[in-house]
Amino acid sequence: MKLTASVLELDLAEVEKRIKRFIKEYVENAEADGIVLGMSGGIDSGTVAAISSLSIGGDKVTGLMLPERETFDSKDINDAKIVAEKFGLKTTVCDITPTLEGFYKTIPIFDRTEKLCKGNIKARTRMIYLYYYANKLNMIVCGSSDKSETMMGYFTKWGDVAADISPLMDLYKTQVRKLALHIGISPELAAKPSTPALWPNQLAETELGIKYETLDLILYGLERFMTTEEIAQQISVKKPLVEKVKSRWLAVEHKRRLPLTPKVEYRTVGTDFRLPRHIY
């Protein structure tokens, strides 16, 4: 296998069809009245909002915009609104700043200078809003995590990744961008740099230290059991970069799984208790 950008090419019409079918059947089986999702104004949430609307109809999709003072950018709100308008979904804006301030004031050991701990509160607070809407309106929460971020653990545990379904989680970021264009998202939004919006001016590629075009090829190679040597050689990058990605890829498995428990009994949750999903 030659590891070039072409390996990430997809039959986009088929992928669109498959994701739409997945969303539709899931919502129907769950007997839910629709989907609620967070809209940050970014490419992942824009794509998942659009494809959800194409799948079950925009009238059954609610997009929550959950800005907060520190990272507020009116462009993000506008970008989300453009998607909502084009694909006919409902949106609501909830400013989560007062809620966050409540946490900042009431956590005895709260430290404003630790931006990661503080930022994680934002992602988890957004999750609470989404699940409130879902519970109240008999909806399911649709996540927008992509495979690049999931494999790198580039998300907040129990925060932005928390959802009932994640229709894009098997697509790398560069593939999400292509799918976005295919379903009618504007080229501007498809090319917009990603940010988790945990603090001002945070950019995913800067933080990860690698371009998604390169990262996705490395992850693709690792997924197919290629060695770090092979990957580095084929995409002409230094081996330590590939090894760094691989170390992180392995280290963050804990973020992708249920909490671990010691095996004590006959069947154990998360290891050998295997039941099919009934209620979604």
Binding site: K17, R18, R21, E25, L275, P276, R277, H278
Partner: protein
């Protein structure tokens, strides 16, 4: 034996863990098949229970004859139809030993069964965790033809189909629960197995979504020369009635004489080599 039969591909989406609902669906499509003049109706792998069962398979498995197979027997008697469907079969001799089985029922009762020989346990599949493999290929001489049975991943191993054919199968029936990412493989294998054995091959796949697995449907009848004669829709439930004219095998077998040209000594070598892989 009839020279021509009509068969129905009942590409259903099973309701997971709901045998009652699935038996109703089997009844509905069997009656529909009868109304459209079919002699044989075929349902997918594990169509009685759905495919993604995990630990619940222990609750759902039944012996043959058990309550579900008795119901299908009654249905076959009532309609005069031949019916093939899939179910988790509990061994009569043990408490929790289960097979992934294709059951063949006719107007006079159970004709026979086939226990899946190759159990996929890789990627999203975990069949060996739950099922014991079968050890016998199965061919039945019936009023609807000499019918051989096998299940899904068995088609990846040409020896299963070949043995079935060598035992006299003219209609090779593959019931399946294949997810969409594997569609291309089955489209190739179904044509190849029919062609290399110069016999009819009917493939009946599940439709619907179970735990993120999307079954791709695409059930089909393939001619002894590898042509797709009819094909059901991709992804969704569908029902297709088609005709099999067994007389077509003769011309295929003369034009592509793979059976005449078989080299038995190679099978010995194959056995030895595969033991030392």
């Amino acid at each position: 034996m009839k020279k021509k039969i009509k068969l129905a591909l009942a590409q259903i989406s099973s309701k997971r863990e709901n045998k009652k609902a699935n038996l109703r669906k089997i009844e509905k499509f069997t009656i529909k098949a009868k109304e459209q003049g079919a002699n044989l109706v075929i349902f997918p792998e594990l169509s009685l229970t759905g495919y993604v069962l995990h630990d619940q398979v222990y609750e759902l498995a039944e012996a043959i004859l058990g309550p579900s197979t008795k119901k299908v027997e009654e249905l076959a008697k009532k309609t005069g139809m031949h019916i093939i469907f899939g179910m988790p079969e509990l061994s009569e001799k043990t408490e929790a030993t289960i097979f992934n089985t294709a059951v063949f029922v006719g107007p006079t009762g159970i004709i026979g069964k086939f226990r899946k020989m190759y159990l996929p346990t890789h990627s999203v599949f975990e069949e060996k965790r739950y099922f014991r493999p079968g050890y016998q290929t199965a061919v039945f001489n019936t009023p609807v033809g000499n019918v051989g049975l096998f299940i899904c991943y068995d088609i990846f191993f040409p020896e299963v189909c070949r043995l079935t054919r060598l035992k006299g199968a003219e209609l090779m029936v593959c019931i399946s629960a294949s997810p969409a990412v594997r569609r291309n493989y089955f489209e190739i294998f179904t044509a190849a197995r029919a062609l290399e054995n110069t016999a009819f091959l009917v493939y009946v796949n599940l439709a619907g979504v179970e735990d993120g697995l999307q079954f791709w449907g695409g059930s089909r009848l393939v001619s002894p020369t590898g042509d797709v004669l009819v094909k059901a829709k991709y992804d969704e439930e569908d029902f297709v009635v088609c005709e099999v004219d067994y007389r077509d095998i003769r011309s295929a077998e003369t034009f592509i004489p793979t059976l005449r040209d078989l080299r038995p000594e190679l099978f010995e070598k194959l056995k030895k080599q595969s033991e030392n892989l």
